[in-house]
Symmetry: C2
Subunit: 458 residues, 2 copies
Amino acid sequence: MTEEMEALFEKLSAFYEARKFADLRMLLLDMEPTDIAAFMEENLDDKDQIRFFRLLPKELASDVFVEIDSDTQEHLIKSFSDTELKAVIDDMFLDDTVDIIEEMPANVVKRILASSTPENRKQLNELLEYPDDSAGSIMTTEFVALSANMTVKEAFDKIRKTGINSETIYTCYVTDGRKHLIGVATVKKLLLSQMTDVIKDIMDDSPITVDTLEDKEDVAMKLSKYDFLALPVIDKEGCIVGIVTVDDAVDVLQEEATEDIQKMAAILPTEKPYLKQSVWNIWRARIPWLLLLMVSATFTSMILSGYENKLALLPTGAVLYAFVPMLMDTAGNAGGQSSVTIIRSLALNEVEFKDIFRIIWKELRVSILLALTVAVVCFAKLMLIDRLYNNFEWNVAAIVSGVLFITIVMAKFVGCILPLIAKKCKLDPAVVASPFITTIVDALSLIIYCSIAIALLG
Amino acid sequence: MTEEMEALFEKLSAFYEARKFADLRMLLLDMEPTDIAAFMEENLDDKDQIRFFRLLPKELASDVFVEIDSDTQEHLIKSFSDTELKAVIDDMFLDDTVDIIEEMPANVVKRILASSTPENRKQLNELLEYPDDSAGSIMTTEFVALSANMTVKEAFDKIRKTGINSETIYTCYVTDGRKHLIGVATVKKLLLSQMTDVIKDIMDDSPITVDTLEDKEDVAMKLSKYDFLALPVIDKEGCIVGIVTVDDAVDVLQEEATEDIQKMAAILPTEKPYLKQSVWNIWRARIPWLLLLMVSATFTSMILSGYENKLALLPTGAVLYAFVPMLMDTAGNAGGQSSVTIIRSLALNEVEFKDIFRIIWKELRVSILLALTVAVVCFAKLMLIDRLYNNFEWNVAAIVSGVLFITIVMAKFVGCILPLIAKKCKLDPAVVASPFITTIVDALSLIIYCSIAIALLG
């Protein structure tokens, strides 16, 4: 938090505690809703939160409410009278109401729906039925609709009339009598046209659209690709049922990046911020992969045990053991570099499955260069440093470095193709990432290491 | 790529090859610039790219040019006549010109600057001087400025006059005679006001601003936090020097997420898409960490060698070796889960250094629960599965599981505090992530394992 914001929060606290409510309201009117929400969460206890909320200028209440975290929202709703709840709900955009409803227990949801107008209740129920990851689940049904025969002047009148209740007014959607989307007109275009121009002559009549069931990540990527402020959402009949706005798309992109990062780190994705999660929830998100990877490491134990008798017979057997962690870590890092690169490129639509041969060819060349560099440095390190504390000849150093070369090339091959195969099989590429690949690569490098060492030194 | 888009690309190719240029232009007019750019990159060779570009409707040329990848841009500029270059550059927004200039070799930059108007050249030179990661480097200087005494009607006239050359017209900036920013008025607000209202009465007079030198990631996070379409950039004197728009902020957030993912995977961050990078560039981004981590694994080799004589004396010495990879992998995964969680939370401003004790307390409880679960399952697995192929008693199983418990708690502690300490020391938390922590955690777990095993079994 910036110092400026801290000073502001202290001033708010002071006014609130001194009951200088007029001064408080003056201050609040100049603040952004999200900052007021942050103040309430950080500086007030349950009882003061509801008192403070009631002091908010009426035009700010809903905007602040939307920005508060869901635990506090739940607690506030439970303290609201029916009239208060209705006032807050009525001023909210429908997509925000949907977001809130999705986090609330059943009895609170019932109260929210009961407080909505019949028209809004119907739309809320429709929005709630869209699958969790779909365009439908993040869209809002409040937008400015124009008809093709309007003049620009009439369009502005329509915008003025419906604008206050629309999440964005800057992109207007032109529909025919049956709600089919036939064009798009931006306010910029309207402003730069003559008042007497007719909408159908100035509109863009081949708008980019998305389907209600399209994955919300694809929708967000599309919005960002075209630099739009909003995208219209179309049902099977070609009717416009809502719009997705850029602010929601930004949130989706941030969430998806977080989820991919979590999956790469062997964590089940969670939506709540870390400090708001309970210890049990964090445990639940982390334990499955930790257990699975621990159990799958049985393979490495089996491999090491299997070669044990033969390794023990070698005069340098114990020396060879000492380099197992180095080999396995390097192979794991090498594989992780490739898998993570491909996973992120897939997420950004920079590569597709059809690029698999180009990718393999590129990774092959990169991995040979990398493996060569690392193997040469490793050989030098073994001869110059490791021989200071361990007793072995150049042939051991050569075998370790040689195996390192092979494992790096192998790890990068596995690392680059597994995410692509996962994508092709409609699995999540991020899930097969680093930790999973590490297990495969560990097992393979051990087998290569032990069998080559025994063959050459035995 | 969608089937629809593929069909469209085929049609474009067909028209182009049949030299049906009128049909081609009709088709292009309905397309988005970024799709036309993708078509040129994927379907045309160098010679056809320049020919095709010359066929573009004049109003599309600059928009398409901005979306093309930098190699193709360079090649096109080299084929342009001075007049062509001037036409393209004149129609571009200054922040896009800056982005292009940053990727071009010196002689091309010279030509671009020579083709700009003196006024634009001056502004370009100023923009180019801002540090790479600053707000200044991603802002544009083209915005709508209003004065406080204008009426709404006069404001609309001003918007109409300057609008076509501004990247966004939807947020207008109110300045005094000396360019000091004194307020902000959105077009929505203007549309919902009376034509005779005066700007100073309807403007928001405490706008959120950013400094020219503020980190571009912080700027993007701010824009997303407040759900704005643009943020004004202010110099030391409080004068507005430019604006950052939401489309650029989205790009910054995506880039920063990619960079953090790369750093976590021990790759130096790169901006170019994977398939556009040369083999040497990929090598350069991956070799430093791969080498460093390989060399730092010397510690694990030293530790294993150091304990070797004592371990060899134990009747179960060889058995204990077999579980080293499992212990190290599990510790690495456990540490990675915590470090990655904290790194991402820091990036999203969900936690700060001052939360360190809350985080340690949370991670401690989570890690004890996780360690307990994993240790119990591990004990069962050792007794039931690993004894099938290896010969050891329950006491070995108990020691391995017990050490696993300790290493998981230790790994999670290291994993959660290192990123916080890095942040405090103004280092990049993502750089100390998974691979680096793995090395530390590997060494510590080995020491714990060997010393406990020798103490209890020796």
